[in-house]
């Protein structure tokens, strides 16, 4: 029986609170089928003195599983309260500063609740005693330091909230160090993505959270009768209750739904009872009454803007009652959008319309919404589903069995930081996961990736059962591959037109010409033809009658699963930072980019442009660009970063305020997808494959746009928050097209065809 450990700061009957309840319910249910140990401290509860030992050190048996308590460490409460106070007092617009203040906020972890004994156990013995270790929640010393020392794969169940603590570097680090992140809701996952970047996408799973619903129903209080809408929760201001009542009153004034009442239930100091105007405040109610109220309500209203997981929304759905939630609350809004089981409202007018809908139900949609809600809740709020989901994440579906087949890939060059190379390595990863043997064969191999590929001249392609060939330039390998008899797929990444390189590198331009000329001759030899984009595909279709299918490049975000370089963060986190990612080559139109940036410097002399991409220092084009920068006195504002390592690239994306590319020729443009996942507003020249990759996202320029206009556009974007939000919104919607799971499915399609 697999052995599971759950690490949490407090456990016991006095430990009440969201995370503590989750820990207990998780452990109790896992214990039915697994060997479960709760690893915790001798401290009593969140509300007691943290470093006071209440329980005895040692192991007990409670609720069907082992509870092993380790001695809690003494701490300096004053120091902790000081740091905590300053963190809580920080206004929201300053939260980002915390990303730079790691050393100053260390005390928040060091003087939190800690247990050196537990850490030592995790470091030395845990991997031997447990097959999987879950850590929850994300905020406390026990969990943070536990993950830091645990040598095995740590599974973090963060219970993440949008608060100052989430931005502390030490806390972000554990999100990267963890092997998997178990999220309660899609909203929580989205929050983590926005806080820490797309690097964690591949290891985040939404397992949901179980919500218990009793079968017994109490009876409705006398004051309450159909029709009514229900609010369940505390009365304090953060729950936005007054806004709700105000909107409700306004809608009654309009005559909409005079019969419908607003029922408030839950603890609170202030009563909003106003029966003449239709507001019934019941105060505190017991669970049975709550269930009755939920079942009988037209809808549950949840106006709060700060929920990480709304239990009561799930409870409502389990009784087939639709909900109305606030658009600004990620967790609840995403849940409603995903389930289709309610309405999302932001402004007062929208809420009034929602009340109207609940009152009159013109299309009879309320019932359908309720049913959708019940289905969604059964999927994500039912322990019966949550636990298997969790177990699958912990132990995996198992490795695929070896198929005994070999599918190899051939590229002209394999280099670090090259889009085609990255794609090939990602495909190889997928092939090997699916059980195939796979290697990459390249004519030229960059020394940084020397171990990732086999040199063409050393390899005999006769051992492959199928070959994927990446075509982007003339290559000696092309002929060799073409002559193979095994199933062959060609992925066309487009060949840059030679005219861009003629003034700078005539020899290379000639290679490109040859490559283009070769293409037509090569195509008949391949069984399957793929292209990164319709644009690329169209070029192939002109040369062949065979069907060409479009598979967008599957971007591997794992390289961003690390802490960003602190030096760059310090330099660029504040202040306008314009970013271009891409090779420094003539087709990327970096000269016009410099012109546009120079114009922008007239608006904001402190702005900085970073050009992140490989360049050859002896290259004439690069020299020309550098000289132009020097002549225009822009050396301090423009950086040619060259080929950078992953921490640096992560920092560049994290600190960028605008992503721009004026490239005149792209076959797909991977950096655009990366920028979309980093929530950076995009400005791009609308040519070749770029409009296709971006779709409705980004601002696309015509080639008639002058540098002054582009610079003015940067300024407009940087000074107009609404415009930025609109752009980021469109990008967030577009990027779902490029999610890792979606990409993997497309790749799997390609691979299964090949292996037939």
């Amino acid at each position: 029986m697999p052995r599971i450990a759950v690490v949490t700061p407090w456990y016991g009957e006095d430990a009440v609170g969201g995370a503590e309840t989750v820990a207990r319910e998780l452990a109790t249910r896992l214990a039915l089928t697994h060997d479960v140990t709760m690893l915790t401290t001798t401290s009593r509860a969140f509300l007691s003195e943290w470093d006071e030992s209440y329980y005895a050190v040692g192991t007990t048996r409670e609720h069907g599983f082992r509870v092993r308590r380790f001695a809690v460490d003494p701490r300096e409460r004053g120091v902790f309260d000081g740091v905590n106070g300053s963190l809580l007092g920080l206004p929201m617009e300053n939260w980002d500063e915390l990303r730079l203040r790691g050393d100053q906020t260390d005390a928040f972890i060091e003087q939190s609740i800690n247990s050196f004994a537990l850490e030592r156990y995790l470091r030395d013995e845990a991997t031997g005693n447990h097959d999987a270790v879950i850590f929850l929640p994300y905020l406390y010393g026990v969990v943070v330091r536990g993950i830091e020392v645990y040598p095995g794969p740590a599974h973090l169940l963060p219970c993440l909230h949008d608060e100052t603590y989430a931005r502390l570097p030490r806390i972000q680090a554990i999100f990267h160090r963890a092997a998997s992140l178990l999220m309660n809701s899609a909203g929580e996952a989205e929050l983590a993505l926005r806080l820490y970047g797309p690097g964690i996408l591949h290891k985040m799973t939404v397992i949901g959270l179980g919500v218990e619903i009793e079968d017994e129903i109490g009876s409705l209080p006398d004051a309450v009768s159909d029709p009514y809408i229900l609010y369940v929760g505390r009365r304090d201001r953060t729950k936005n209750v007054e806004f709700l009542i105000d909107a409700f009153r306004a809608s009654r004034l309009n005559g909409a739904g005079n019969a419908m009442k607003l029922v408030l239930a839950g603890p609170g100091d202030h009563s909003y009872d106003d029966r003449d105007n239709g507001v019934v405040d019941l105060g505190y109610i017991d669970t049975l009454t709550k269930r009755a109220l939920l079942a009988g309500a037209r809808a549950l209203v949840q106006p709060s803007v700060n929920e990480s997981y709304s239990r009561v929304v799930m409870e409502a759905w389990m009784t087939r009652t639709p909900v109305a939630v606030h658009a600004s609350c990620l967790a609840t809004a995403m849940a409603v959008e995903a389930s289709g089981a309610g309405l999302i409202a932001a402004t007062r007018e929208e809420w009034m319309k929602a009340f109207e809908m609940f009152s009159h139900d013109p299309d009879g949609t309320l019932r359908e919404m309720g049913e959708r809600g019940e289905r969604y809740a059964r999927e994500f709020a039912d322990w019966e589903r949550v636990i298997p989901h969790l177990l699958e994440t912990l132990f995996g579906p198992g490795d695929f069995e070896s198929t005994g087949k070999r599918i190899d890939q051939v590229v002209q060059t394999l280099e670090y930081g090259d889009a085609i190379s990255d794609y090939a390595m990602h495909i190889r990863h997928r092939l090997r996961t699916l059980g195939y043997d796979s290697d990459i064969i390249a004519e030229g191999i960059g020394h940084r990736v020397a171990d990732e590929a086999i040199a063409f001249r050393d390899y005999s392609l006769s051992v492959s059962d199928a070959v994927i060939y990446h075509h982007s330039i003339a290559s000696a390998a092309t002929e060799a591959v073409s002559s193979l008899t095994v199933p062959k797929a060609l992925i066309y990444h487009n060949i840059t037109p030679a005219r861009f390189f003629e003034p700078f590198e005539p020899a290379f331009a000639e290679l490109l010409q040859i490559g283009r000329a070769q293409t037509a001759g090569v195509l008949p030899h391949f069984d399957y033809l793929f292209a990164d984009s319709d644009f690329n595909g169209a070029e192939l279709s002109e040369l062949t009658d065979k069907p060409v299918r479009t598979i967008p490049v599957v971007v591997d975000f794992r390289r961003f699963d690390r802490m960003p370089d602190p030096e760059l963060m310090r330099k660029h986190l504040f202040g306008i930072h314009v970013l271009f990612v891409g090779r420094v080559s003539p087709s990327k139109a970096i000269g016009p980019l410099l012109d546009a940036f120079e114009a922008y410097l007239c608006f904001n002399g402190e702005a900085h442009l970073s050009i992140v991409g490989r360049f050859n220092p002896a290259d004439a084009y690069y020299r020309q660009l550098r000289d132009s920068v020097i002549e225009r006195r822009m050396e301090k504002s423009v950086t040619f970063a060259g080929l950078v390592d992953e921490e640096t690239l992560t920092a560049y994306y994290r600190t960028a305020d605008i992503f721009v590319t004026l490239s005149e020729h792209e076959g797909f443009c991977v950096p655009l997808v990366e920028a979309m996942f980093w929530d950076i507003p995009i400005v791009a020249l609308g040519t070749t494959a770029i409009p296709e990759t971006l779709g409705p996202a980004g601002i696309l320029l015509e080639s008639s746009a002058t540098p002054l206009e582009i610079g003015a556009l940067f300024h407009t974007i940087c000074s107009d928050l609404n415009l930025r939000l609109t752009m980021i919104d469109a990008q967030r919607r577009r990027r779902t097209f490029y999610l890792p799971e979606t990409g993997e499915r497309r790749l799997d399609g390609l691979i299964s065809e090949l292996s037939k």
């Binding site: 015509e702 206009e709 610079g711």
Partner: protein, 598 residues
Amino acid sequence: MILNNNPAIDVDELMKRVRAEASRLRSGGALEFRRGEPRNMNDMQLAKAIDRHHAVSTLLAEAETWNRPVQVPQRLRRFGPLGRFVTRVVNYLFKNQRQAIAAIIHSNREAIWMQLNIGEAVSRNIEDLRSLERYRVESLRDVRMSLDVLRSDVAGIANAHHHTREIAERALANGVGALDAVRSEIEGLATAHHATRELVEEALAAGERARYALEQSGVSREWIESLESTVRDISGRLEKASHEATFAHARIDSAQSDLRDVSARTDLEAKFCHQRIDSAESTILSLAGQAKGFIERVEHQGRLIAERDRTLHAISERANDSPTRLEARQSLVDGLREVDRHISEGYESTLRAVANLRSEIHAVPAVRLSVPEEHRPVERNDAVHAFLADRFRGTRAEIDAWLSAYLSVVQSCTITSEAPLLDAGPGRGEWLEILRKNDIPALGIETNGILAEECRTLGLNVRSGDLLEDLQDRPSRSLGALTAFHVVEHLPFEYLVEMLRESIRVLAPGGLVIFETPDPRNVLVATRTFYLDPTHLHPIPHELLLALLEIVGFVEARVLELHPPKPVFSAGDRMSEQLNGFFARSQDYAIVARAPNA
């Protein structure tokens, strides 16, 4: 300009905004402004050269990673040990090649390093010299400023000297005038005395004749004796008068000799001041001379720098020349450094001279007139002041009642005979009398000689003299308290500040000060009553006095409300309240403060 791919964005509106901004930029010439002057050719070349060097280093690094022994190729791996052997042989054969390449890479690196360092050193040198020049210019400016300050210091001293001289002359004139007045009084007295003498002699003679007549007529003896006693009385008075006249003569003589003393001392001080001023002037002249030389040296250096620039430009153009040029450049830099060192030293000595002179000037003691109290010339104006004081201050009884309120305040602090209470400007001595009645050891200091004399007649310990001088002569922490009723409004501001400073020194820790002065919050006081005393300078608002006390270092400073006013406007409404506040409030206010305990 912008494609319409996102329905959520109004492209037309956005383009309008962008175009508006772009044309604003264009019309403002912002781009040209930003580009500014075309970049200096030297700067650009240097920047480009340095840039290239960095890039070339990257290439060399890459070359290095390629220059390694080869791995066993895939094809040969099948042959196992033979394959490995072949690879080893190949690597061995190419070992010389690799070493040659490594040497080339290394020498290229060295060459680049040299070039880079030369380039960077050259830039740094130029920067250094430029900033040195800036520093020189600023230092020169500082020296100029110091000279100006010196000049004004000297002018100040000259003024002070002048002022002192005026006071001395006025005092002399006063003294002489007073002497004349006394002299004429005495002559009057003498004449009167003479006349009286004649009268007395006549009276005596008459008396004798009367006596004889009476004796002849048999008038009683007692009557005669009473006449005689009257005569004796008269003659006694005459003697006293003549005694007083002699005394007055003696006082005039001593006053005269004092005056001579004072004028002699004043002359001496004036001469001393003159000498000081002369020496200061000559120092300034020499400094000006030094500064001039200094300026010349800086200009010379500027010319050297310009020349150097040209030389360096020549050098940078022939960057791959022989080492001798490098040496020539190096020696030029060394030479410049030497010059620079000389300038530094000269500059340092200049600064030191300026500092010395300043301290010398400040060491000149203030010129004072200090006349011993017994020989203080009688000021005619004192009489006038005494008269005025009587007329406007109120009756003695009123004053007594007013002052008794301060008694409890004073009794709260420790006053002993070693640390007594000093009353400044006791006037007619009412406060000192109250203190004496309550056994509180106190003394007074009064500038008005007549009033001081009056106090002494009452048996009060009052000295005649200047308050500030008196405080300056006292040792530290020697007074238990200091009171000054209606004194501060007579004092010029600087004097007041100085007086406060001295008093905090002279007071014992926790010692008390009480100041009473007319309150300008009372509009009638501020506009009229205050000016009934022509020696009042200007009303002092309580906030000002409180602030001064705080600045000087007193603690617990507060305004005392001892005499609540009688309201005049009695309607009881807000208007009356306001009017009472302006017109019916107390005419004076008092402030109490303590010297800090530390």
